[in-house]
Structure formats: structure tokens, C-alpha cells
Subunit: 222 residues, 2 copies
DNA sequence: ACCTGAACACCGTTCAAGT
DNA sequence: ACCTGAACACCGTTCAAGT
């Protein structure tokens, strides 16, 4: 008598877009950007790869949707009443911390220009610029500047993490290896990079990030 | 008598790292980021995929090397004597234009944190900040801010191009479709995004970019 | 030393077939 | 309507074998 091979365990709830996105986030957090695979995802959901396509158009849409879940959660966090400047700082720091916790969000944002996750951030920043009295004609350029700075830092952070992970280094080891590489540069060609490599391992990413936000805000104020 | 199948045409010069990078740049310019494939590249070089690995460690190294060629060319361009501020503007604009011409450079930069292409930009910017009299303790944070802004804009530009190309739209059509999508947002949830969508299709990316650079420079000056 | 190209271990995506 | 899973058309990378 031929016995059927042990069936894969039945999932309890039926598939849904929400459950798929939830599983994608968990996978991305555990295994990084390269860990999100339709095969790995369908295994986690106890289904076949094809099933996911019933609820989601393709991988890019899935990644953007996962990113949007994190961004929405971050942007919906209530903020204490504060000056527009402080609120902008809080929004920016919120994104910085979210990307720190979910590095894949940094690169997902870069790959979804003009999409909902980016719009959410832009909307919150823009309102504060209006409150700040930035003239209408300058509002677009000013949010753009703030947003692009935030996206730039986020992308670099994401890439740093991925790089470190690929080499099996932790943050300190990775920064150390970069600092070493910079110190070995030709003194004639790269005096500045060398001069800055020394104080590199002790710096605080978060403080540096905020410094840049303040630089822009100071520019807006004048 | 068995005839051998027509041999693939012999290449004239032998393979070298330089020729591979050159071919990679041509391929990236013609077919975009997704066009760079070891198969496509080896066909263009009239060789097998394995041959490339003799000269180049892997795809990521190849992409970074191609990116570095463009960045080096851009950073080595002589600049007219000018104030440090104007020189910084020229450096930033040089990168903006290079990414405009080679959109893949924008995303390659994001994926090579702390690597040579980024160092080249950082070095040039940093020297101007020194000339500007930025105190040593602030130099790292200030270049970081400028650099991250440039990388952020570059990444967005690259993504915009890729998106437009994937949908078969030109720049104007793409901007129009984004503006439409923004105009359809819920008026209660996204008033700012909607207010800004209107003047969206006529804006000048390059001017917006420069506006952000000036914002940061103004912040540095105070 | 340098090159060849088949083979390996993956991908995202599709689609006939099932329930 | 929703799910299954084999199949398709790709990838990057390796490696025995050639010159």
C-alpha cells in the first residue's frame, strides 16, 4: 500500500494580503533583504509560491507594502506638542530609528520613489514647513531637500548593515575596517579622508544625522 | 565529414579588467542596471561567463568599479577657481549631471558605502569645507550631511528613471502620472502632498537639487 | 596564466489543474 | 474564488578541462 508523504502542516487561517505582508516583514527582519524569497515566504505561510500571487502583484509591490507598514506605524506615532522645528526633528529621528531597526526599509524607500511610504513622510514634513511659514513657492524644494537627506542617510545605513552582515562583522568591527581602509589611502591624494578616518569609530550615527537635519533647518530659517 | 559549428568571432585584444569595466559601463548605459549580466557581458566581450571571474571578483565589485570610473572622471574634471561655496556647488552639480547621464551610478553609490567612489566625493567636498573654515570637530558631520544629501537625490533620480523605463514612459509622462496619483489622494489625509502635486510637472530637478545644497551651505555659514 | 562552457543552486513568475 | 506545485526562463558563480 502506498502511503502519501506526510502532508505539510495545514495553516490555520486562510491567506490574505495582510498575513503575507506580516510574514514578509518578519522574514526581512530575520534574514535581511536577500532573505525575502517567494519560496521562503510561501514555506513560512505553509503554501506554494503561486498562492502569494493571488494577493500580491509581484515582489516589488510586496516590498513596498511591507515598507509602508513600517513607515505608517512610525508616522502615526503621536508626537508631543512642540515647535515645528522640533516636530521635524522628531519625524526625522523616527525614520532614522525605524530604519535602524529594519534596515531593509532604507533601501525599500529608495526603490519606491513617489509611492505611498515616501508620501507619508513628505506629508508630515510638509505640514510642519507650512507651520514654519515657508512661502508656498519654496515648500516643494524644501521638503524635497529634507526628504532626500533622510532617504540618503537611510540608504547608507541600510547598505552599511548589509555589508557588515555579508562579512559577518558587527557594527564596531565594520566601522573599524572602514576606518583602517581610509587610513591606508595615499596621503597625497586623500588627506581629508585620512584626517577624518581617525575620529570615525567613536562617532554617533544618530547625532550626525540630527546635525544634518539642523543644518538644513538653519538654512530654512534664514 | 562533420563540420565544426561556426566559431564565435575571435576577439581582437585579450581580456583585461579595464576592458571588462568599459564593456560593463556601455551595457549599463544601454540597458540599465538590470542589463548588466555576466552572460550579456561575456557575449559582448566574445568570451564565456567564467572568463570574467579571472579579472573581477564578483558582480558587486564590477558594479562598484564601473561606478568608480564615472565618479573619478567627474571628480577629476578641472574646476574654475572660485569660492569654496561655488566649488562645492560645482562638485555637487557634477555628480548630479553624471547620475543624470548614467542613472545606474546613483544606485551603485548607495550600495558601496565607504568605498572608493564615495571617498572621492567626500575628499573633494571635505577640502572645500576646510577652506571654508569649518572647525575640525564639525568637518565629519558636515561632509556627511552634504554627501548623504547628494546620495539621496542620486538614488531617487536613479529610481525614477528605472521606474519610468519599466513602464515605458518618458520623464514628462512619468512625472505626470505621479502628479495624478498624488492629486487623487484623500484630501483630509494628504492636503500637503496634494497642494504640491500641481506644480510638480514643471519643476526643474537640477534647480531643486541646487536649492538643497544651498540650504545646507547656508546652515554651515551660520 | 588565462580562458572555456557546462553544470549547480538558486531566483521571480506563470499557469494548468485542482478544490 | 482561491490555492497548488511543477515548469519556464532566467540569474551569479564554480570548476574541470583545455591552451
Amino acid at each position: 500500500m502506498v502511503k502519501k508523504p506526510a502532508a505539510t502542516p495545514r495553516r490555520e487561517e486562510s491567506l490574505s494580503r495582510g498575513r503575507i505582508i506580516e510574514a514578509a516583514i518578519a522574514l526581512l527582519d530575520e534574514a535581511g533583504e536577500s532573505g525575502l524569497t517567494f519560496r521562503a515566504l510561501s514555506q513560512r505561510l505553509a503554501t506554494g509560491p503561486g498562492a502569494i500571487y493571488w494577493h500580491v502583484a509581484n515582489k516589488s509591490e510586496l516590498l513596498t507594502a511591507a515598507c509602508d507598514t513600517i513607515v505608517a506605524r512610525t508616522m502615526d506615532a503621536p508626537l508631543a506638542d512642540a515647535t515645528p522645528e522640533d516636530t521635524i526633528r522628531a519625524i526625522a529621528l523616527g525614520m532614522f530609528d525605524a530604519i535602524d531597526e529594519h534596515p531593509w526599509v532604507g533601501s525599500a524607500l529608495t526603490h519606491a520613489p513617489g509611492q505611498l511610504p515616501v508620501i507619508r513622510i513628505l506629508e508630515r514634513l510638509g505640514r510642519q514647513l507650512q507651520a514654519l511659514g515657508v512661502p508656498q513657492a519654496c515648500q516643494w524644494r524644501t521638503v524635497s531637500a529634507l526628504l532626500n537627506y533622510i532617504l540618503g542617510v537611510g540608504g547608507q545605513n541600510a547598505a552599511n548593515r548589509q555589508f557588515a552582515q555579508a562579512e559577518g562583522l558587527d557594527r564596531t568591527e565594520f566601522l573599524g575596517s572602514v576606518a583602517n581602509a581610509w587610513s591606508d589611502l595615499d596621503p597625497d591624494d586623500y588627506p581629508f579622508a585620512r584626517s577624518v578616518a581617525g575620529l570615525f569609530p567613536d562617532h554617533d550615527d544618530r547625532e550626525d544625522f540630527l546635525f544634518g537635519v539642523d543644518l538644513i533647518l538653519r538654512g530654512v530659517g534664514t
